[in-house]
Amino acid sequence: MFKGTTTIGTKNYAAEKKVLTQIEQIGQTLDNERMKQEKADQNRIKKLASRLKKLQNEHRRYYIPNEIDRLYTENGGLEMNASTGQDVTTYYVNLPANKIELWARIEADRLINPVFREFYTERDVILEERRQSIETNPDGKLYEAFMSKAYKVHPYGIPIIGYPQDLTYMSQTAIRHMHRKYLSPENMIIAVVGDINPSKTLKLINHYFGRIPKGNYRPTAIPAEPPQTEERKVEVLFDANPSMIIGYHKLTAPAVEDYVFDVLETILSKGRTSRLYSKLVLQMQIADSISVHNGMPATRYANLFAILARPRHPHTNDELQAAIFRELEILKTSPVTDLELAKAKNQLKMDYVKSLDSNSELASILSYYELLLGDYRYFSSYISHIDKVTAMDIQAVAVKYLATGNRTIAVLNKKANEDASTGKNEK
């Protein structure tokens, strides 16, 4: 998507297109040959790779790199970027209000006339990104193992970046299919926040984005994750300091329990006076760090209440785990204090107010909840729901959800010296 359109990022699209078509043909033939693995003709691979390289060099004569970025920057644009999570892909930019038409022209053009330039180079970049962030990264490796253990059926168990086998032979045809299916107007939200005139802005958006044809988008049926009935464990061996993730399945927003878990997350780990931090990091000194997250990995479907922690040397994952479980048991037997509850609610309110300060943050939040929950007003009613949470509610969710049978534990332990192999052992 960041490689321009038929008019942006090219010196001569008619000539460029011929080269791009050849690149795709040779690239696909090369992939097909490589897919044969041990039966592949190495001579043919060599010839095809050399031909592909020549065509890629030829393509550089027509391609203008980063032209969209330059257009935005020259017009006062900032922080143009994109992010992809388990639920949504977001494209965003901050621009002066009088440049909104420029934005509409560029973005509508990207959606209507995208050109996937430098496809094979980008594919290699993503594979390298995966190697760096997961395969050679202890935290990434632990997280991947944890998610695939916690989700047996639901695609939340699949990493956002995908697996190497998905990426290695990914074709441009697949990318075009994804683009047509998911970046269709019915599946898209535009949020504009700032010094705008809404009626004029809507006219402008309608003029540029209204041209995008309907995509006949039909949501894919996503299988629900069956209820977990027994504790799951996975161990990752890696040459790194120990760490762990403990997760419990729970309902997602706008279920009442989700607000309760937001308050519980704050009570347990937000700030130095929070329960887990003060007890395990400061008082007992058995944890190096501890963090609690409600809503891992995303919001659209039932998700996890997760605890991420690192033991402090010489303490072990087992010791820290036992201490965390003791704290969670206390939640089930005695209600949190009024002071803890009030403090957590104030912190959440403060975060809420802070998030209103930035236009880009607001645009992101509005579009996110509109897309996922079908109503951006989830955000504006958030504080009133938080206010209703009681100590009894917290105790009730602790009893119901923080149960052994609903728990997944992933631990990363240091690989013993004599064990030269890498990988994970499942218990």
Partner: protein, 80 residues
């Protein structure tokens, strides 16, 4: 005395922030304009004054980072 005055100021600040919260919420709900184009595209628009627009433009990249809770979860703790 100085410490006490500072504490009072902080308290007043907090009260103002907390009091302002529901106003923001109401304001936000009223001011967001929602429209659906013929092709099914949903558009949300929120008009805000130019001072805040300027503040947003000068915001740091970190303010941008919470694009969704999906990513924030990992970035916060382990910077994956």
């Amino acid at each position: 005395m100085l410490t006490r005055n500072r504490f009072c100021l902080l308290l007043v600040g907090l009260i103002i922030v907390c009091w302002a919260t529901p106003l923001w919420a109401i304001d936000l709900e009223k001011k967001v304009a929602k429209a659906k184009l013929d092709n099914g595209l949903t558009v949300l628009m929120l008009e805000r004054n130019s001072v805040r627009q300027f503040r947003s433009i000068s915001a740091t990249a970190s303010e941008q980072s919470m694009k969704s809770r999906d990513k924030a979860v990992l970035r916060t703790f382990w910077n994956i």
